[in-house]
């Protein structure tokens, strides 16, 4: 029997921190707030590490029952926590990266108003995210799911005095509602047909199904609805629109929530419910298509963005697309692998970008940067690591995960592979574009001219503090950067495929979770390693060669992107304008993100608002409800206005009313008596 790990403490600790900071933080000094926040978040991380130390001795999956939450008839939902390899990975990512970003935030937010508020929210987010990844049933998971949405709303709108921030928060929230709606319906369907939301029971029941058996379309429906939820949370087409706007929030938030952890919740959820998806091939295809499209689509947009954070945001979307592509081709472990590496390098990139912004006193527009290489070397080097990682240059982390996904995609269908490849090319292109524009060339900003407090485009004023001019960030910000940089260099090595004479540890580690999904290649490889007869050797080698070939191609694509970026943005900086002018319409379209927002605004938002205003507001609320109230009030007024004349204050008239009343009473009594 497993020892009791008290998993429930892991989510609870940040909650305590949030409660303390939220309740009393106003009176605390900044140091005290920092202490509380870091203490509890770090405690959670430490506990996660301790869990890892215990992990080998556990019989998996390991569930811990804390309390019964809902019991309605046969249906029961508990406060119970579920630990297996997948949730362990997520747990490490969330608590670790989260802890690092907490540290980073201390430096980044030090000058901000509402410091305690920020950390209270951050801890709150940690609580919900950990609940999400540790939940042992869909309902508890949904709590975390909604909670992280709430936290993200609060943090996006952290500078709520800024109109754009507030509306961005609302946008994120509402768009997420759509997804959550799908998720919720999926949960209802599960309850209706399987009478439970507990992972183990549900999956046991479902594993009896198979794509051929009846009820497959039910699973498809459930899977698709779940996917809708995932799209909402993980910013996939068509619900990705909130993520770019979410960059209104403070950069650490963007790093933690909108790059590393929360947006990957969708991927995690899909991976978690792989049992359902595997039995719904149609749904899988949809997931793959959505993933690929999102990846390419976002990448193309990212090419044209000039706001450093926006570029990263779109790259995030496209990377998430990769993950969904992986899930779509049933390579869940690959998806999770990419999730992990992505958490490292994208968190790193965001933090580095934040450091750059910090250095430039709030400047976010890349066109006003450049030549920062020498001025902020640490940021530069860390960012370089991140850039190479995301661009998929070996041996950085991103290379392995992305290559894995591409290879799997190819095995599913070459179209996926092609799109993925082009996406990889584009990714490396715009990332290096960002890299070059930010750190190379000569400085295009105006910060030296009149000290600090320059145009605080993105993050509002607070950066205009003390020392003017460009300055390296404090240690407290740099240390997390370095750690993450290291991670994004070596992070991929846990998953070196056999084709490169590695043993895909990560995939093997996750295998028990996805055992049912181990694809043919995996089987062969295991077979090979198990030394099954020599028959497999030939194709084995061919498959290796093919894989290596594809790897080479993708690396070449990445390098091409690097070269192009160098050519366009360092060598001939005037070239991009020419190109842009040459293919004018397309460039505009890309620049305006394919007018998706406008499209949504016209198709959904505007009709909704107009309908609400005309029908609900003017029609029902004013026309019916208010009208009835007002009308009755007016009627009462009129009646009393006429009756009022009885109250003339004249005693004799009162007496007359009494007299007539008495006469009436007498008449009635006579009538009664005479009946």
């Amino acid at each position: 029997m497993n020892p009791n790990l008290h998993l429930w403490l892991i989510p609870l600790l940040p909650l305590i921190g949030a409660a303390i900071n939220g309740a009393f933080g106003k009176r605390f000094s900044r140091q005290a707030v920092t202490g509380v926040a870091l203490l509890f978040c770090g405690a959670a991380f430490a506990m996660a590490l301790w869990v890892v130390s215990q992990f080998s001795s556990l019989a998996l999956p390991h569930t811990e029952y804390v309390a019964t939450w809902i019991r309605a008839g046969t249906f029961q939902a508990d406060f119970a926590f579920y630990l297996d390899q997948l949730s362990l990975v997520m747990l490490l990512i969330v608590s670790g990266v989260g802890f690092l970003i907490h540290i980073y935030s201390v430096g980044y937010m030090w000058e901000e108003g509402g410091y305690y508020r920020f950390f209270a929210y951050l801890n709150l987010f940690m609580f919900f995210m950990l609940t999400l990844v540790l939940a042992s049933n869909y309902l508890l998971m949904f709590i975390g799911w909604e909670g992280v949405g709430l936290a993200s709303y609060l943090l996006i709108g952290f500078w709520f005095t800024k109109d754009s921030a507030a509306s961005a928060g609302k946008k994120a929230f509402i768009v997420n509602r759509i997804g959550d709606f799908g998720f919720l319906i999926a949960l209802f369907l599960l309850i209706q047909h399987f009478g439970s939301l507990d992972f183990t029971t549900v999956f046991q029941k479902i594993s009896r199904f198979s794509p051929e058996t009846a009820g497959a379309e039910l699973l498809t429906a459930i899977a698709l609805l779940l996917m809708v939820g995932a799209c909402g949370k993980s910013a996939q087409i068509p619900l990705y629109v909130w993520l770019p706007d979410a960059m209104e929030g403070p950069t650490p938030v963007s790093a933690l929530i909108h790059a590393a952890t929360m947006v990957t919740a969708g991927v995690y959820m899909v991976a978690r419910s792989h049992v359902i998806f595997e039995r719904a091939p149609a749904a899988l295809t949809v997931v793959a298509i959505i993933g690929t499209l999102t990846a390419l689509f976002a990448a193309t947009i990212g090419v044209a963005q000039t706001d450093i954070k926006k570029v990263l945001a779109y790259s995030t979307i496209s990377q998430l697309g990769y993950m969904f592509l992986a899930c779509g081709v049933a390579a869940f472990s690959a998806g999770i692998f990419h999730l992990m590496t992505h958490a490292f390098f994208k968190g790193l990139l965001f933090l580095a970008a934040g450091s750059v912004i910090h250095a430039l006193g709030g400047e976010q527009d890349m066109r006003h940067m450049g030549g920062l290489r020498t001025k902020i070397p640490w940021t530069f080097w860390t960012m370089t690591a991140g850039t190479f990682a995301i661009a998929g240059i070996p041996p950085f982390a991103g290379f392995f995960s992305k290559d894995e996904i591409l290879w799997r995609a190819y095995q599913a269908s070459w179209i996926y592979w092609l799109i993925g490849l082009s996406t990889a090319f584009l990714t490396s292109f715009y990332m290096f574009r960002l890299w070059f524009m930010t750190f190379f060339g000569d400085y295009r900003g105006d910060l030296e001219d009149h000290g600090h407090g320059a145009s605080h485009a993105g993050a509002p004023a607070p950066h205009g503090h003390g020392h003017g001019g460009i300055h390296e960030s404090p240690k407290v910000m740099l240390i997390p950067l370095m750690i993450l940089a290291v991670l994004s260099i070596v992070g991929g090595w846990v998953g070196v495929p056999e084709s490169m004479y590695g043993a895909n540890h990560f995939e093997r580690f996750l295998a028990p979770v996805f055992h049912s999904t181990t694809s043919s290649a995996e089987l062969e490889q295991t077979g090979a390693t198990d030394g099954h007869g020599l028959t497999g050797e030939g194709e084995q080698r061919t498959s290796y060669t093919a894989e290596r070939l594809f790897t080479g191609i993708s690396v070449a694509a990445a390098l091409t992107g690097l070269y192009l970026a160098w050519l366009l943005y360092l060598r001939r900086p005037q070239l991009p304008q020419k190109i842009a002018r040459s293919l004018n319409g397309f460039y505009d379209m890309v620049l305006h993100k394919y007018y998706v927002d406008e499209f949504y605004a016209t198709i959904f938002v505007k009709p909704l608002i107009d309908g609400s205003r005309t029908i609900l507001w003017h029609g029902i609320d004013q026309g019916v409800i208010d009208a009835t109230v007002d009308k009755s009030a007016e009627e009462a007024l009129d009646v009393s206005d006429t009756v009022r004349h009885m109250e003339s204050g004249n005693v004799r008239s009162y007496a007359s009313w009494v007299a007539i009343g008495a006469a009436a009473v007498i008449a009635y009594m006579i009538w009664v008596a005479s009946r």
């Binding site: 003339s648 204050g649 004249n650 005693v651 004799r652 007496a655 007359s656 007299a659």
Partner: protein, 100 residues
């Protein structure tokens, strides 16, 4: 021998006169007198019924009515004095406002 109904008719006439006085008179004091008139009419019917049914309680009720009338007259006249002190008039038609 007088039928009971005669007394009742008499009391009814008195009562009606009282009501009429209340309706047509303008002077507060006169109106009060009209009230007294009504009470007297009622008293008459009380006594008549008492005699009719050989029930002394009717007469007892007359005493109560008298006491109430006395109290009412006392307070009413005091009120009249107060009103006159503030408004310089006894005409109810001019005493139709709650506040001055």
């Amino acid at each position: 021998m007088v039928p009971l109904s005669y007394y009742l008719v008499l009391s009814g006439i008195l009562f009606a006169c009282g009501v009429t006085g209340f309706l047509i008179k303008r002077n507060i004091i006169t109106i009060f007198m009209s009230i007294e008139l009504m009470l007297n009419g009622v008293n008459l019917s009380f006594v008549a019924f008492a005699a009719q049914w050989h029930q002394l309680s009717g007469q007892v009720f007359v005493f109560f009515v008298m006491v109430v009338a006395a109290a009412e007259a006392t307070v009413g006249l005091a009120i009249i004095i107060a009103v006159f002190r503030t408004r310089e008039t006894l005409n109810v038609d001019q005493v139709n406002l709650l506040k001055l």
